[in-house]
Symmetry: C2
Subunit: 202 residues, 2 copies
Amino acid sequence: MNSDDEISPPGEGKRERKRRETLARITDVGLRLFLQRGYDATTLDEIAAEAGISRRTFFHYFKSKDEILLSLQSDMGLRIVRALEDEPADKPPLEAIRDAVLEVCNTIPADEMLAIDRLMRASPVVQARKLASYVEHEATLYAALRRKWPGEQRQLALRLVSMMSIGALRLSTDAYHREDGARPFGDLLREAFAALGGEANP
Amino acid sequence: MNSDDEISPPGEGKRERKRRETLARITDVGLRLFLQRGYDATTLDEIAAEAGISRRTFFHYFKSKDEILLSLQSDMGLRIVRALEDEPADKPPLEAIRDAVLEVCNTIPADEMLAIDRLMRASPVVQARKLASYVEHEATLYAALRRKWPGEQRQLALRLVSMMSIGALRLSTDAYHREDGARPFGDLLREAFAALGGEANP
DNA sequence: CCTGATTGTTGCACTCAGTGCAATTATCAA
DNA sequence: TTGATAATTGCACTGAGTGCAACAATCAGG
């Protein structure tokens, strides 16, 4: 059994546990340092040192520096899709997605959200990869939609829905940043969905 | 006057001309080497040497290696908007954009288009920045649309149009790559626009 | 508990992208 | 011709990312 008194998921060996812990430690430390000193000013040496690993080992956990931030982003995508699956199947797709996004975003502190967003805008490469990950989210979302509403005849309707949903997410995130978090993110998101949904079904 | 017998735009000094020429030389050489040896395998030293400049000077023309490829991408955006301005104002927006994109794409050899696309997929960062540039195109397109159809009451309709147009461009580029250029790009683009347009105005 | 296989960690040396600085050279406007 | 402005370059430096080979931790089975 576990020689240390650590709580860990059943059937998880020491190897897997250590790996999971180290991974979490890297992202935590990384995010903290990025927020403290800025993305560019933080070196991998610092992150590695603070996380208690060697610089070389870092690359066994992440392919590159920006993947620390990107992992947060792709987490979001997965969580949204998972929340979507819990939505009732008789809700209109656009509303179901909107509510799934709302639910996930409610679990993230507003100030942290803004801070991370600002962080990502600081580096062109990170910003680009963030936008690119939206495109991946679109594909993931489309796949989830087809799973949830397989009866839908025209697949393109769902394509359009996923494009619009991710578009709405993009627009509201943008607006949230532009007005510096003045209004709650949920309101902006609802507005964006309402506007796009209204346009699409006049 | 021009001491060399070079044809150059009127009112263009020697400085501007040399700069323009060097810029063109870098992109040409860069693209050629990338296609020959691959993106990662081509170093800036090689590009600079082949273009007859020093490595250091390269950075006075491009901020980074990937901007060589990105400049091609942003050129596309500008050319599409310019072509859009020549379209008759009484054509429905979606059709006008479709035709503008078609016109611009007709000027690019199909094989070169495929090759560049493959090139960009080879590097995650370049690919990401390409996708990110789609987002910029969307903004540029939206601005152009508002200029062309200022009468339109609901600006969100135009937002949606630009989102869908760039979406269609993305989808068809993707399909073109997936089927390795089997069908002409124009056909794919027309299909995508038709499908999305059909969905939006049932 | 021991053992051999597997997997994780590390240091080292290396390549290459990108930057800051300061010296030199080319172009310009007058 | 000259003084200002902008382009080019070399040099030295930082930091990301990789390949390799040695070493340590974990595991599964006897």
